[in-house]
Amino acid sequence: MNPAFLSELRRALPASALLVEAEALHPYECDGLSAYRQVPLAVCLPDTLEQARAVLAACRTHQVPVVARGAGTGLSGGALPLADGVVLSLARFNRILAIDAENRLARVQPGVRNLAISEAAAPFGLYYAPDPSSQIACSIGGNVAENSGGVHCLKYGLTVHNLLALKVLTLDGELLEIGLEAPDSPGYDLLALMTGSEGLLGLVVEVTVKLLVKPERAQVVLAAFASVEAAGAAVADIIGAGILPAGLEMMDNLSIRAAEDFVHAGYPVDAAAILLCELDGANAEVSEQIMAVRDVLLKSGATEVRTAQDEAQRLKFWAGRKGAFPAVGRISPDYYCMDGTIPRRHLAGVLGRIAELSSQYGLRVANVFHAGDGNLHPLILFDANLPGEMDRAEALGADILRLCVEVGGTVTGEHGIGVEKLDASCSQFTPEELAQFHAVKAAFDPDGLLNPGKAVPTLHRCAELGRMHVRGGQLPFPELPRF
């Protein structure tokens, strides 16, 4: 490390907030996507705005890249360190600054855990709606960076729908106040632009979120189907009937069996697919909707429809779904979690193609997904200790994501591009679109030092890959030589 840079960091931070020894850096070498690892130059753990600003100033002066990090639970490598860069951890920005029950909002620092916001709001009968499965650990700053979702997005939206304001530090130390506690803040919607920008546009140092009144009651209905197609059709029928469930999840047979072995949720293990449909709202409204949903499910060919008898059973039904990833982890040494989204009408076709790809690659795929919003999480089962198997899993994953783009979907619904899906996103965007993204980044970060190389692939990378976007039969990058 450049000694001048190091001494500037030492001036910026107390000794306890600067890690430079190899063993202290190791815990930061990866995020939730542990297949990618890199030890950074240093880890900075500021706990004041001034310290954070001084770290950014040092990075700017010495042109050292900065990777912001929340809880490190991200699944696409967004917080993967750079060998020549520092990690700026926001773990010590962990204070809840205000719960404003009257305006139903919470003002918090970015290192506050997602669930901690709902816990702090609970005494007022309020909660923060987005609930990514990692909500016990993931930080709200990370949620903003990734525009995290969860199982209740269909009704309550993603992070972007539940934010009011951000305070953002730019690399040159300017504190931007984006959004307001009032609606529709003036000027461009920078709040939307910042959300999901994966730490490439600015450093989020404060977050104001909306809080919702806790619904009076939540109830879940479980339905079993003899085919995945029938389950997919039932999803369309529920929504076609004018019902907007709080959550609508599907699992295929492999996931059902894995989850049942793991948590004994009482799932029908012979079913080809199950749907979990959660309804929430006022007591009478939920009763009304449960009857309607049961009706629709039976008409759609459900072989069995069960309503949770009590809160314990409701939680049990959900435990199976929420434990699906670790459950699959028990039946396979490794698994690779995909995150494509498709228009729901293509569900059956896409699942059929995934099954074909699965047998073609000789790797099992368990399908768990947020059926209500078409967000698929195919889990590719593999054994990293078998030579070539990880490469095959990645190739199968890339094929699945290409398939999502082909039917009009996206390569990432809620996990982000990070480093993991840089190649996959080459098939989703044209060179002009990618160039536009890079121009937007330059408007915020002209030095290109904020999490560089993540989220948006370079044109060069996509061209090298040769696996590019074809729109209207025309190959992109006509100006580049081919080999």
Binding site: P183, D189, L201, A284, P343, G374, V440
Partner: protein, 347 residues
Amino acid sequence: MEADIVDRVRQALAGKTPLQLRGGGSKDFYGRRAGGEILDLSAHRGIVSYEPSELVLTAKAGTPLAEIQAILAENGQMLPFEPPSFSPAATLGGMVAAGLSGPRRPWGGSVRDAVLGVKIVNGKGEVLRFGGQVMKNVAGYDLSRLMVGALGTLGVLLEISVKVLPRPAAEFTRAFELAPAAVAEKLAEWGRRPLPLSATCYHAGRLHVRLSGGRACLDGALALLGGEDADPALWPTLADQQLPFFQGEGPLWRIALPAAAPALNLPGECLVEWAGALRWLRTDLSAKALRQRVTSLGGHATLFRGGDEKSAVFHPLSPALLALHQRLKRALDPAGLFNPGRLYPEF
């Protein structure tokens, strides 16, 4: 048609002649006056795809809002943000460019909440797609929502995908005679309960409230609320500013505040929507004095109609944010072709 629009943009780029983007012209009054030749987009119309069970509609930007609302109604669905039209000529593109939401906004979400994807022509004459037709999509920066409320200054909208929602099974409107101080208390009390509110309007001592949802749920809520039955036709009239309050030539201010902010205590006549978060004010007070008060309450003020068109129509930005706006504008429209000055005088 799309090719014609792209050609016009490329010609404008070559000749460095700014363009004034125009859909149905229903919101010509809104924002500052833009310079440039008019680029009429109203012929670029038609619904591209609509599958009710997907809850997504994609249409060309010049499609009349009325056409979209009619097809949604046929299928028991709606635009959840209840956009104003102001005239039958209003288009989908104009709705997105203005970013104005109607009475349902605090409960059903805003225009930008519902936008899922766009196809645009940027200032280099390139046709680009951002977002998509799915609810969840975090690939790339969210440039589709950035278009909402940008008043056309970042690109020509060609196509837009929006999330739609089922219409509520039933809706009721109730009215109450209440003094201003009592209204805030009532709204705060109702706001703490999981009540199916979907609109509020307070003006001249009368509070109107709309409830939307399933029958069973509404019965309980209506019993709790009390009040007297009132005409539901109020809401579209309110959205389109057909009420007598909105008539006349004097300046009309649109003031957004945290919902529980205290009374404005400014001279003039006030109408309050969105459970307190949106306050319309008819006043001759100076922009400076008005904005000072609004800023102190954590809000912002737009000179919606009337007044001095040359003044700052939208709430001034901090110097740092203004500079960022200018850099973003250059990133999408380097030659400054689209609607220069419509949003802020500086770009």
